[in-house]
Symmetry: C2
Subunit: 318 residues, 2 copies
Amino acid sequence: MAKRYIGIDLGGTTVKLGIVDENGGLLYKAEKPTRGEEGPEASLARIADHARELAEAIGTPWSNVAGVGMGLPGFLDLEKGEIIRLTNIPWERVPVRSMLEAELGLPVAIDNDANAAALGEAWSGAGAGFNDLICITLGTGVGGGIIVGGRLVHGLSGMAGEIGHIPVEADGVRCGCGQRGCLETISSATGMTRLAREGLAQGRHSVLDEAEKRGELTTREIFAAAKDQDGLALDVVDRATDALGRVMAMLSVVNNPAAFIVGGGVSRAGDELFTPLRRSYAKHTLVEVANGVQILPARLGNDAGLIGAAGLVWNRGS
Amino acid sequence: MAKRYIGIDLGGTTVKLGIVDENGGLLYKAEKPTRGEEGPEASLARIADHARELAEAIGTPWSNVAGVGMGLPGFLDLEKGEIIRLTNIPWERVPVRSMLEAELGLPVAIDNDANAAALGEAWSGAGAGFNDLICITLGTGVGGGIIVGGRLVHGLSGMAGEIGHIPVEADGVRCGCGQRGCLETISSATGMTRLAREGLAQGRHSVLDEAEKRGELTTREIFAAAKDQDGLALDVVDRATDALGRVMAMLSVVNNPAAFIVGGGVSRAGDELFTPLRRSYAKHTLVEVANGVQILPARLGNDAGLIGAAGLVWNRGS
């Protein structure tokens, strides 16, 4: 009988679980409260119960489940399979891999949630069929996941793919990481709304002024205004896509990926983002390098994390 | 009996051949004329003879040779095992892999010479023991080779590792590739001597003026003058190492390699290069990322290319 894999996407308030087939196809999923405040033992025991219920719900014998993977928001010791500390869940130094293995009697793999989402898109999302690709998530920050030869790249201390912290503007604003002018300060949702606000503060006329006064200045408003040829909105989109295109050009002479998969909230803008982004990439990339490289929207949405988590057991990466 | 591998480093005038053990240890080597003008058939047949002589010379039965690899200077179609065109040898569209396989009766692998040299250093040079590393060659240009999970990264069109063409100065001079301000225009031997000449032309006082008048302005002179606290020489070294350190910082949030191996003519300067380079890297790299990363001089010198070529058969990479 065909093998099944269970993926768990642990968040601060809810935990998403999914059971997938060998091609990364999602068969069934569920969402439960995390209740991190109960402590890791109680919370993980409950999550293990949910994992078994998931298999039961679609009539998969437990012996057919080949492994369980978990994506976690925070800093991990991947070698030891331990949580160092998490964002929004007060757990520290928790040997989560061995705890889940004891609960489930199955091999368990863990990774950070950005890498899990990248692996999901690579396995059965927009990246399926590409051996070398880079996933970029444009949300509150800019995250990345690097796939080389079909495997996730982690690097020495798991910092591979932290492309949001590549500096792109020499005298840019200070980033949360301490550096100046990081990609994340410009091409994330936070960065784009900041640029729009700066333009308004400088007295530029723009339809965005009203959204700002309503407290509703989001990238959705910015892209809508850009579509209507609003000058400020066009400038913000231009600056965000120019910076990202330059970073993608540079990534192309490092790993020369066949595809860039772009997801996250900002990517919902569709062509309003992808058209100027493809233009910027073509402008900044040597033609021999850009040739054949695809820039594609992510396809799995919020399921990418749990599908990718399910793939972690077989995709050990490097 | 232990397996042996033969590596061939094809150059414009000479071809270097070596036979190595399973750990990348060089057992015996030879250097012969390339005679590319005779055409690929005649030249490759002679090289195949030299390969057999090499095994004979150390008493290795041909049946013990597990494979032959060749590093080539130029553009290759790695999938087809074909030369597209070479630097300094007038061969085009030559199916070199199948031709050598027919001559030798063994599996043959080809790659460009920069990747072969990187693999050599990774296998039995300064990079031995590191799974993820980046080799940087500072010569006439700036070359690179990327190793992830112990394997060479090629990418979609074999342009992975072309890190000399990462732009580092927005309004820099034009690079051979057509872009402006590429790393190669600043941190290569060519770039450093150009910067020194520009300084002299601007009337700066420097001991380099005499070297220039003798037509002997090289990076060796620049590093020697820097050691003697010559202001212009110090500025040139500072600018070259600052640019390279910034690129290495960026590479660290892409693949997060455990080590950078720096070779090529410029690297012979030793501490005069490595001390400011390590300082620049530490300055530009997030401390969580820089932690534990080593910056090491290459160790195999001119043998890196043939040792790495010998490793190509088993290291298929991605």
